[in-house]
Subunit: 515 residues, 2 copies
């Protein structure tokens, strides 16, 4: 059996049954091995940013790592930005990146590069496979690493000769990760007590924002009176009717400062202390008020579930305590020319129950989400690492992970262009996705940032770098080019009709929303 | 004056007058400084792979570095693959990559990453700016580094607070690079003598493939009887009527072995010894026959011009010697359904004099280039590092560099999808470019590679990763979506008519060639 086939069998035996891929020649034996195992689902993306962003989305919804298949240094480089987002969001992932055969590297062929360097700059765990016999153990170790510490980016560098070499080792199964680190119980007890004090905030991330753990934190807040907060970019959060009410810190640092004005003590579980997205001259790097104390009780890579349960126990929270939940608000259907607020209201009316909502609406977001947050129950997935262009790739992954849930993606036009090829995979895989492109003809956020920094308004060169309205992008044509039907809308009525069309269309549908 | 403005003035004073850009918040003070200097041309690309590929193309045609403007780790990561190509092609380039303000890094904001790691994995030269006062020297050093050793990728990491800080230092001008290393004159004399022996091959790269140095090597060959060769992927080579005849090694290793069958001695100038693009079990890593000797006389980063002139002098080559030149062949206009060979014939008839031809036709190339090579005089630019998706970004750069020369780009469909957003910049800058997309519905080359490796034909999973025909890409719609007019052609007559239309269209025009 080739080393490649041992690796495929090891991945399957370890619960990795989906691979997002864009292979090349050095991965051909791995491809051939995948070909012998149709029980492994292989999803092609036309750019590696799509591959890694899809694996990130898949991990967020399943909690399990997908595999990725990448081609040498450039293939990995193309996937770097969404690996950064995955790393920041603690998404488990197993990257298999091919390399030249070991004996070929000394000749410095065109595709030879500092592969270990670029891989190491974004992976939590890296191993270069030494020989075919080691691949069972290496593959199992990669899956284990991906599952460790709450979710990691694990990368296996697979030289072609280890893939095509004969292996005498039997396929392996990934061993259990080491138990997660837990905070000192005395610190947990102290934190639970502190949460009952005025100005207490429980800062949450990771698994605390959805499902059963969100219920736990909801009960903690109802019992202790603390606020529940998360930072602007949560990897996955339950929203809509019935979801536990967790405040999101605003993106602008001034807004975050205002939101934390009354905070005296922050207990961070599954989330680092709050930080401004960027530094601005004269503004603080962190938004908490002077004198507020911060307890980094449980970082994301520790045992968040245990910590929250222990806080609840120490605080004496009963199961019968009822968390504050989001109540549904049904906005009236807005008419006429759209703005972000109106988009939010239309979307709030039409959002399907149980939808997955992928968010990369930067300037339009503050208008949209306050409405959608109070729609039917749904899950929102956000950009975690600030590398834009994540929405379409992540959409692939969440849709593959949850074939029974409708997906609605809302992205700015500038962001969506980064990995626009991802539209094709939506069509290829017939994924039930509605993509809303907020078409405002530019990187609108950057105009705001100039102002925010006290700089003059954009002149010739700044406008040349911020505005994309000349020529205008035709998103309906772009969608069609990728095999995705679409429509352009300008009014509330048109958006409502287009959402109806999207809902009754099998596979993906794109709506270009003119703002 | 801000550090950012000192940097802009230093770049301008050092001859860098074009910046390909995709900025973000951390680069806003640099953007504001560019805004005060409209003599710096700023070209926006909608993805950073476009930025770096464009700078590569610009450098190939001007011999001078362009600047790039990139946003933190993810922006640099997105540009990595085309930086790899630029590095392999020895294109000078000055990357300015913004980072968070130094004091903000400790808070691990979402966009904080191992920026130094990813930058270092592909740059020849890196400097992290320490303070605003140092920016004049840092900027000048970056330009000098880009110009050193025959062309390098130089990256300046620009923390936001060094850009917005006040600088007391005056803008600087880049000092001259250190003189290029030269081979031992005795070795040059020996090499010149060896070139007169049977089976001698002069392996060439870099500046030896175009312009005055190509004339020198042409005379050397005419005088000594040696063969002139270059590897498959030359950064820039003169082709067509009157160009010095230089053989290109075929891409498949078996073809390269056959082409070098009679070679006994290879003298490499500006080019590493030949190497197979990939390793294949049972096939050699290098194509020269057993017993052939290889003289690595002058690597690309040494003084290629001096070395070639010295070879000519040592061999006693007279100025009056006439090189063997490519003669023009005018193919008959092929009719009916197109294949690669017919595309080559049509293109050979219609290619405008002095055109820049950008090549990323992988499987179609062997059919096309033998015809186009014998068309009117032109320059061909190829993928250098094997990272696909380079053609459209590079097209931006060569067209910006040479506004008076028509550009014809030929790319496979799979390759062109990688950085398809680059089409928009062609329209934005109204560049006179004809883009031919060889639409064969897949990564055709990978089917060939399975066979090449002795693996079974593609089954379900391999086909899922190689074929992009379901759904089919509609390239005319994709072009239109980016603001580029286009047409689909199926026959020789239609291609001829479309090339006519393209020639009479201002700005870019895309032709989808159905194969």
């Amino acid at each position: 059996m080739t080393g490649a086939e041992v690796l495929v069998k090891t991945l399957l035996a370890s619960g990795v049954d989906t691979v997002f891929a864009n292979p090349g020649t050095s991965e051909m034996h791995f491809v051939a091995a995948l070909d012998r195992h149709p029980e492994m689902r292989c999803v092609l993306c036309l750019f590696e940013g799509g591959v890694t962003g899809a694996a990130d989305g898949y991990a967020r919804m399943t909690g399990r790592p997908a595999g990725t298949l990448l081609h040498l240094g450039p293939g990995f480089g193309n996937g770097w930005a969404n690996l950064h987002n995955a790393r920041k969001g603690a998404s488990p992932m197993v990257n298999v990146v091919g390399d030249h055969a070991g004996y070929h590297l000394r000749y410095d062929a065109p595709l030879t590069a500092d592969l270990d360097g670029v891989v190491g700059s974004v992976s939590h765990w890296v191993r270069r496979v030494a020989d075919a016999d080691g691949l069972a153990e290496d593959g199992a170790a990669a899956v284990r690493a991906a599952r460790s510490n709450g979710g990691q980016v694990a990368t296996l560098i697979l030289p072609a000769d280890t893939a095509w070499g004969d292996s005498t080792a039997a396929p392996a199964t990934a061993p259990e990760p080491a138990p997660l680190h837990r905070p000192d119980p005395a610190r947990v007890v102290a934190a639970a007590a502190a949460l009952t004090e005025p100005g207490a905030v429980l800062m949450l991330g990771g698994a605390a924002l959805h499902g059963p753990l969100a219920e736990v934190v909801g009960r903690i807040a109802a019992h202790t009176g603390c606020r529940l907060m998360t930072q602007f970019f949560a990897a996955r959060i339950d929203r809509g009717e019935g979801a536990v009410a967790i405040e999101q810190l605003p993106y602008p640092v001034e807004g975050a400062v205002a939101a934390l004005e009354t905070a005296r003590h922050l207990v961070c579980v599954g989330e680092p202390p709050p930080v401004a997205f960027f530094a601005y001259p004269g503004l603080p790097s962190t938004p908490e008020p002077a004198g507020a104390t911060i307890d980094r009780l449980c970082p994301a890579e520790w045992d968040v579930a245990w910590t929250l349960e222990e806080i609840a126990r120490a605080a004496g929270v009963r199961e019968s305590v009822v968390p504050a939940r989001i109540e549904r608000v049904r906005p009236a259907l807005p008419e006429g020319q759209l703005d972000a607020d109106k988009v939010g209201r239309v979307l709030a009316r039409f959002l399907p129950e149980g939808a997955l909502v992928v968010n990369e609406a930067l300037t339009a977001g503050p208008g949209i989400w306050p409405h959608v947050d109070r729609a039917v129950q749904h899950t929102r997935v956000n950009n975690t690492g600030g590398s834009i262009g994540q929405a379409l790739p992540t959409t692939i992954g969440v849709a593959v992970a949850c074939p029974d849930r409708p997906v609605v993606t809302v992205s700015g036009d500038g962001s969506a262009m980064y990995q626009v090829q991802s539209l094709w995979t939506l069509a290829r895989e017939k994924l039930d996705v509605t993509v809303l492109i907020m078409s405002n003809g530019g990187y609108r956020i950057l105009h705001g940032e100039l102002d925010h920094l006290g700089l003059p308004p954009a002149g010739q060169n700044a406008s040349a770098m911020f505005d994309i309205a000349e020529p205008g992008l035709d998103w309906v044509a772009l969608a069609q080019g990728h095999g995705v039907p679409g429509e352009r809308v300008e009014t509330g009525e048109e958006l409502a009709a287009a959402l109806d069309t999207a809902a009754s269309t099998e596979g993906p549908f794109l709506i270009e929303v003119m703002l």
